[in-house]
């Protein structure tokens, strides 16, 4: 089988082994059959833009493989990364459902496989399959929770150091690392991208990391970051 951008493309949702682990994809047999007939499987290289903020909604994108950066841009070019999405997430949902322009820009940060469904097809699909409709409601709820979390972090944190500490603790609480005394996290983003996640400059992020390392709160081993002193990081995150 051809594998563009080094991706092992999953052609059919019906035979996808990862389906059951994913919130949206784990549909009933009837819904899955319909979904299979309306989706277009596409492979994208790193840096491909799936949709742009302000664009009229064309449809939804189910991320099968890779990662996608969701960002908001100001007119002066300042960018804020709202979320890094993982496989299984549906992108462009709220705009597709409401008919309003996409609120975010979605750009792949790895070579990615995406299943695209046209807006009209997707809306018909939701009307016909109540289980899919419920899953979409669940996905939207999670996105809403994340957006509220983002507002809290951006609007109520006093300093860039506090925001960075919160971000690292948040990452450190995922992928089974939460219970560990010294969580390990893969730093897959550049300092520039981390700066865009917390609404500060690249220089500030570099300076903050240098300070955290100097105080032995974190340590880097290649692209892995180890939180050595979770308590101290929590203190910074709570602005004490």
């Amino acid at each position: 089988m051809l594998s563009p951008y080094g991706l092992d493309i999953i052609e059919s949702c019906l035979t996808c082994k990862l389906r059951t682990e994913r919130l949206f994809c784990d549909l009933s047999a009837a819904a899955l059959q319909t979904f299979e007939s309306i989706k277009y499987a596409t492979a994208y290289p790193k840096g491909a833009v799936l949709f742009v903020e302000g664009q009229a909604p064309r449809g939804i994108f189910v991320l099968c493989k890779g990662r996608v950066k969701l960002s908001i841009c100001a007119t002066d070019g300042k960018t804020l990364i709202v979320k890094i999405t993982e496989p299984g997430e549906v992108l462009g949902l709220s705009a597709t459902v409401s008919g309003k322009p996409y609120e975010l820009t979605a750009e792949t940060i790895d070579p990615s496989q995406v299943n695209f469904v046209k807006r009209d097809d997707f809306l018909r699909f939701l009307k016909e399959h109540s289980d899919a409709c419920f899953k979409v409601a669940e996905q939207l709820s999670e996105k809403y929770n994340t957006a509220c979390h983002e507002v809290r972090s951006l609007g109520l944190s006093h300093s860039a150091g506090e925001k960075l500490a919160k971000l690292l603790l948040d990452w450190g609480s995922k992928n089974g690392e939460a219970a560990k005394v010294e969580p390990h996290l893969k730093l897959a983003l550049t300092h520039e991208e981390i700066a865009q996640m917390i609404g500060t400059s690249r220089e500030t992020v570099t300076r903050l990391f240098a300070d955290l390392k100097k105080r032995q709160i974190v340590q880097t081993k290649g692209s892995t970051l180890v939180i050595r002193n979770k308590t101290a990081l929590k203190l910074i995150a709570s602005n004490n």
Partner: protein, 164 residues
């Protein structure tokens, strides 16, 4: 002065213009049985950030402030919700704690539905589920707009709310 409680959704005159409330007859009948209606005084907190989601609230009249709070007690208003809005939906559907606090800005009538009843209701009534999807999409648009105004200092809409 409190207004008289309008107990039945079937007789509600405000219903047709409201996204969630304007349900098909059969769904409305069932919803009417599931919900309980209460009058609450101003400043009542319907739910607090971090609390597990046990109920969903449909605001029949009045206004509600939705806000988030920092550990130090600073509060940031997300938006003001009005009549017909469903509050506590996202936490109820995702099963996670409430992401915000909902506080009444005026005396209000609120219909309350237990989380488990709502989930069953949505599974059984496709139209209601579609309405919920539309509501959540709308909420998400507002939330992203808020992220934009807080994070980048601008808003697409004229409605700009500030921390207080």
């Amino acid at each position: 002065m409190e207004s008289a409680t309008q107990v039945s959704c079937l007789e509600c005159v405000g219903r047709p213009g409201r996204l969630f409330c304007d349900l098909p007859a059969e769904a409305l009948q069932e919803f009417d049985v599931l919900k309980s209606v209460n009058q609450y005084p101003r400043a009542t907190v319907l739910f607090r950030e971090g609390q597990p989601a046990q109920n969903v609230f449909v605001l029949c009249n009045g206004r509600v402030r939705l806000s988030v709070c920092s550990e130090s007690g600073r509060r940031l208003t997300l938006r003001i919700a009005g009549p017909g809005e469903v509050l506590g939906l996202s936490a109820s559907l995702s099963g996670s704690p409430h992401e915000m606090t909902a506080e009444l800005l005026a005396n209000a009538q609120v219909a309350l539905v237990k989380r488990r009843d709502l989930l069953r209701f949505l599974h059984e009534h496709r139209e209601a589920c579609l309405q919920v999807v539309s509501l959540l999409s709308q909420d998400l648009h507002f939330a992203y707009d808020r992220v934009r105004s807080v994070g980048l200092g601008r808003s697409r809409r004229s409605r700009v709310l500030r921390p207080h």
